[in-house]
């Protein structure tokens, strides 16, 4: 019976795609959520003993919820309801708002499926727009596509019981909507702090591009300027203790520049990338200046321990591991560590058309780009009878691997790395380990390479990792191996099946574009911070105020006359001024028309990705 209801609803909800319907069908479970009857006979779900509606009268509760909302009733607002539950509140909302102006987002597809199964057909109107089982950034992307239908803004309507069950999800979703609303008016000013050197340096640039893609303003604090000094210290004295102390002083100095720069640019957020110089003292200073701080620890928490000294001092601490590592972070005072995996930058990691010469130079049956870690040295010795190339640095004393090592182990730029990924028939992606032989049986997080190879539309064989299946569909989007024998077996098989390789690689690329770009990660990180601190709003650092513009242009100028109406409105973007002029009436004066013209050029530049 209830399955009939589910099918009837799926038939009726015309806005659901076939994939959405399939997901809901697959997610339906008889035993989850637990469904009980309220006193008025209505079905009420609960998760972990938390009920999603009143157990007395869900409809009366929903009416009360609706009465507490402030709806602006304009036709260009899209209402986003965070949490479906069994939909009593949604039904009430749809009494006063047309369905095309409502989108309901439900974190848990099983709850959504259960709602459709337990409510009578017709409970939800045919035009209901439902997004279920998607991560917050992906759900937001779907919302943006709906916005293309002419909605000017989103208004988030919180379903408190759903947020009570999944606080991280719904707070992040609300946060994402908040930060992206701000993005259309100049966005947040983010000071992005790079490390002095190392693997997270290119990631810093990908993050910068993502911040700008999302409409925020990013200032890069490039600490590579300190790297020669750091190298100098390494060679200064053989006394390791002295070297460590001097390094500490250098880190302190570099960290102090963070405070100076953050105050100068009036940053809303200081985002420090792994190994970026920072000290608890600097973080306290920034907190006193009301600047939010975040750190993205794109490292293996068991291999590097410096997080222990700093994690507790950040407003957001993002990591690429879950489970025990999150508990360890909490034990050192980091209240809310957040799992944020690595990603790819489709601007850099993309399919390339390579010339015959490039294919010759970079191509091979198998290759690996990466540093010469212990486990790789051992594992790759078992591939030398194949057409196998090793690219990358730190392969000193490579021994038998010398025959496969390219360019004597020189460092490979990100641009060339992408060419190698593209030119290689099978990219061998073995996560590094300093103490396991071959495949690390306890490996969990995914390295950037996993996402980057996929984003290139290239084929890879990757060692088994605990988080692989939640990021890619095994077999259809990615192929894994547990040891050398299986890797060789897969390699032999897939070298003979170029069409299968191409199909798997293409599916992996689509998955990355859909869920695993740096735009997704940065959006999620900003959403997490805004979700935790709802009063976090941009202060307009670096943007001029009307008063400054009037003073600059001269009080008698036409620009001064135009800016008069913006006095007291604080920092202004070109978009702010132009939108206000667009909404006005009557003839434009020349300066107003020029501001609109300039803004159109800016929009064009954004669209073409040249700004």
């Amino acid at each position: 019976m209830i399955l009939d209801n589910l099918e009837a609803h799926l038939e009726r909800l015309t806005k659901l795609s076939p994939a959405d319907k399939e997901l809901l069908r697959e997610s339906f479970r008889e035993d989850y959520p637990v469904v009980a009857q309220a006193r008025d006979g209505a079905a009420v779900p609960s998760v972990d003993r938390k009920t999603l509606h009143s157990t007395y009268n869900p409809t009366a509760e929903a009416q009360k919820w609706l009465n507490g909302l402030e709806l602006d009733r304009s036709g260009d607002t899209l209402y986003v309801v965070g949490g479906l539950g069994f939909g009593y509140h949604v039904r009430e909302l749809l009494q006063v708002v047309p369905p095309e102006q409502v989108v309901v987002i439900e974190k848990d597809a099983a709850i959504a499926a259960s709602a459709l199964a337990h409510q009578q057909p017709g409970f939800f109107p045919a035009g209901l727009q439902l997004i279920a089982g998607q991560k917050p950034p992906v759900a937001y992307q779907i919302l943006r596509r709906l916005q293309a239908d002419g909605f000017r803004r989103f208004v988030y309507l919180n379903h408190p019981a759903s947020t009570n069950v999944f606080p991280d999800y719904y707070n992040t979703l609300r946060g994402i909507i908040q930060v992206q609303e701000a993005a259309s008016h100049g966005g947040y000013k983010v000071l992005l702090v790079s490390p002095l050197y190392g693997g997270s340096l290119p990631v810093t640039h990908y993050v910068k591009r993502a911040l700008e893609n999302l409409g925020h303003r990013c200032e890069l604090l490039d600490n590579t300027a300190f790297y020669p000094g750091y190298q100098h210290l390494q060679e200064l004295t053989p006394n390791k203790q002295h070297t460590a102390q001097l390094e500490g002083l250098l880190t302190t100095l570099a960290a102090e520049t963070v405070t100076a720069k953050a105050l100068e640019v009036r940053a809303d957020l200081v985002l420090v990338m792994a190994q970026g110089p920072v000290t608890p003292e600097v973080l306290n200073e920034l907190r006193n200046a009301d600047i939010r701080t975040a750190f993205w620890f794109v490292e293996d928490g068991s291999a590097l321990q410096y997080w222990k000294a700093i994690a507790a001092h950040f407003d957001g601490f993002f990591v690429i591991q879950k489970g025990d590592f999150l508990k360890q972070l909490q034990s050192v005072g980091c209240q809310n560590p957040y799992y944020l995996p690595m990603a790819a930058d489709p601007f850099v990691h993309r399919p390339l058309m390579l010339s015959a010469e490039e294919l010759e130079e970079y191509g091979s049956d198998l290759s690996h780009v990466g540093a010469g870690y212990f486990n790789r040295r051992e594992f790759f010795a078992g591939l030398l009878d194949l057409d196998f190339k090793i690219w990358g640095s730190d392969w000193e004393k490579a021994g038998v691997l010398d025959q496969a090592l390219q360019r004597d182990g020189e460092r490979i730029s990100p641009e060339e790395t992408v060419k190698i990924f593209n030119a290689t028939r099978i990219n061998v992606n073995l996560h590094s380990s300093t103490y396991h032989s071959g495949v690390n049986p306890f490996g969990d997080f995914l390295n950037p390479r996993t996402f980057e190879i996929a984003a290139c539309g290239a084929f890879q064989l990757v060692d088994e990792r605990a988080y692989l299946a939640e990021n890619f569909d095994l077999g259809a989007e990615i192929v894994s191996f547990c040891d050398l024998n299986e890797m060789r077996e897969h390699a032999r098989e897939y070298l003979q099946r170029p069409d299968d390789r191409a199909a798997i690689a293409a599916a992996a690329r689509q998955r990355v574009l859909r869920e695993h770009t740096y735009d997704h990660r940065v959006l999620e990180a900003l959403g997490v911070i805004a979700g935790r601190y709802p009063d976090w709003v941009p202060r307009g650092g670096g943007l001029p105020t009307a008063e400054e513009l009037i003073q600059e242009a001269g009080v008698d100028s036409e620009l001064a006359q135009v800016m008069e109406r913006f006095v007291g409105r604080g920092p202004l973007t070109l978009e702010d001024v132009a939108s206000d002029i667009e909404r006005g009436e009557g003839n434009l004066n020349r300066t107003e028309a020029m501001i609109l013209l300039l803004n159109e050029f800016r929009r064009w530049g954004m669209e073409k990705g040249v700004m």
Partner: protein
């Protein structure tokens, strides 16, 4: 009023394809000359067009750099635009033809005081306005070009205002001609074939090894010199060609500015290349071009605007691919072979009839009686929709001009299309009725929002009636823009657009019926003539 202004903030190929429109505009205005606004790096092209008296260079890089950073817009950005507008105002243009599809150019067109606009303009009072049906048509192509049968040159000409007269003859200085002659002197009296190896997208570029093989095949059959052209980025490929051909090659890649490039092509007898700026330059110089149309390049849209030119397209279903294509192993590069390109080039050189292609289509540019470019040569099954609209777009969208000669180029099943049209119209009527009912039901509510049932079914209708896509895309555009009726609310815009859509559908129905009727009569007559050969002369047996 001063001379007209043409806003052509376009890429090289598109800018060259706007040249005949500039000629038309000049004729409209008593041949008093035209001002051209073009990207700074292409501004020298203005000197080649005899009607262009003045070229205003647009420095997009400077404006972009003014906008990067937080607060520079008020200072550098506005100053730059102030200077640009003053430059434009010097000639007080009374007519502006905007041939660019950006909102920026529309705003710019709307800012020229007291000027009539052709193309799109934006003002706060009227919003976005597409002046004339062809301007609207141009924008509707942004949704899909699958049905478009018109060459970009013709669309530009229709936007600017088509005028009869001789074709544009580009203006080359004696010095430029002499420089070209000096460069080409080693070729002596041999036939000179200009070859441009580049294009603006890697997917559009045929591998250089294919070009080498092609040129070798041509040289086996004819005594000629190849003149290699292109920017400095083409140099490595040009060197590759020279090294392989060993003799009869003049490498001018990276050496010519735009006017010199024109002068060199002008000295050659044939042009070979991709769908690219140099190919359109050759066409404007009246040179026959043989072009390799790969990836997103489509002969229907950008075949060389010179009769007898050949566009070679691959015989694969995915061609032309979308602009966003990231195809990694493009089949189109392999489907067109050196032998196929050499065959086309030799047919042009030797003045022979070009036999149908293997694995590729030869599309031959020809001028139709309506003055627009058409494609002769090989036909492909996907032409059906384009052929249909080649015949019926003008009667539907511009019925006043439809009387001028239409060629019976469509050989599709008109009876089947008549049935489809009837169903389509009925569906429209139902949706319009739903709109009106919805309006009545909402009159008592406070909601000003409005959801158009016809727009909601846009995708569904497209899937059911792909042939009528231009009607639906036009409709979508008119609902979105209101076309100069910004004072109308969304509902009024929708009702207006629905009325227009219905009228156009009726126009189409009428003209299809008429054509079908005419064809039936014509077929009967042909049959009758076959049986009685002398009947037409009135001779009795």
């Amino acid at each position: 009023m001063g001379q007209p202004l043409v806003i052509a903030l376009l890429r090289l190929g598109d800018l060259l394809q706007s040249f005949p429109a500039i000629t038309d505009l000049n004729r409209t205005n008593g041949e008093a000359g035209v001002t051209l606004l073009a990207p700074k790096d292409l501004a020298p092209l203005g000197k080649l067009h005899p009607a262009v008296n003045k070229t205003i260079p647009f420095n997009g890089d400077e404006l972009l750099s003014a906008l990067l950073g937080d607060g520079n817009w008020s200072d550098r950005g506005l100053s730059y635009l102030d200077g640009l507008l003053k430059d434009i105002a010097v000639d007080a243009p009374g007519l502006v033809a905007n041939l660019t599809h950006t909102s920026f150019s529309a705003n710019l067109a709307g800012m020229v005081p007291h000027a009539r606009v052709r193309g799109r303009s934006y003002t706060r009072e009227l919003g976005s306005v597409s002046h004339g049906v062809w301007s609207c048509y141009f924008f509707s192509l942004l949704s899909s070009r699958a049905c478009n049968p018109f060459n970009l040159v013709d669309i530009f000409r229709d936007i600017a205002g088509r005028m009869p007269g001789d074709k544009t003859r580009l203006r080359l200085s004696e010095q430029q001609r002499q420089t070209a002659r000096d460069w080409l002197a080693p070729a002596g009296q041999k036939l000179k074939v200009a070859v441009a190896l580049g294009a603006n997208h890697p997917l559009r570029c045929w591998p250089v090894s294919h070009w080498i093989d092609t040129l070798k095949l041509i040289r086996q059959q004819t005594n000629c010199t190849f003149v290699l052209l292109g920017g400095s980025e083409e140099k490595p490929n040009a060197i590759d060609v020279v090294n392989n051909l060993k003799r009869d090659c003049i490498d001018l890649s990276g050496q010519t500015d735009l006017p010199e490039l024109a002068a060199v092509i002008d000295q050659c007898e044939l042009f070979l290349g991709h769908d690219s700026g140099p190919l359109h330059l050759a066409a404007m110089l009246g040179k026959t071009a043989v072009g390799v149309y790969l990836a997103m390049a489509s002969a229907w849209e950008t075949a060389a605007y010179h009769p007898g030119s050949v566009a070679i397209e691959p015989d694969i279903h995915c061609h032309p691919c979308p602009e966003s294509s990231t195809c990694r192993e493009p089949l189109c590069h392999r489907k067109i072979t050196p032998a196929a390109v050499a065959k086309a080039a030799l047919a042009v050189i030797q003045g022979e009839h070009l036999q149908p292609g293997n694995d590729c289509f030869y599309r031959i540019s020809r001028m139709a009686s309506d003055g627009r470019l058409d494609l002769a040569g090989d036909r492909r099954s996907s032409d059906k929709a384009r052929r249909f609209w080649r015949n019926f777009a003008v009667p539907v969208f511009e019925p006043d001009r439809a009387a001028r000669g239409i060629e019976p180029v469509f050989n599709g099943d008109l009876e089947d299309i008549q049935i489809q049209l009837r169903n389509f119209k009925n569906e429209l009527l139902e949706l319009i009725d739903a709109t009106l009912q919805d309006v009545r039901s909402r009159l008592s509510t406070a909601w000003v929002s409005y959801h158009d049932p016809l727009s909601a079914k846009h995708q569904e209708l497209l899937a059911l009636y792909p042939l009528f896509r231009p009607l639906l895309d036009f409709y979508h555009l008119e609902v979105q823009m209101g076309n100069g009726k910004s004072m109308l609310n969304p509902l009024e815009k929708t009702l207006n657009a629905q009325e227009t859509l219905l009228q156009r559908t009726k126009n189409l129905q009428q003209v299809v019926e008429d054509t079908n009727g005419t064809r039936a009569v014509s077929e009967l007559m042909h049959q009758s003539l076959r049986t009685k050969p002398y009947a037409r002369l009135g001779v009795t047996a």
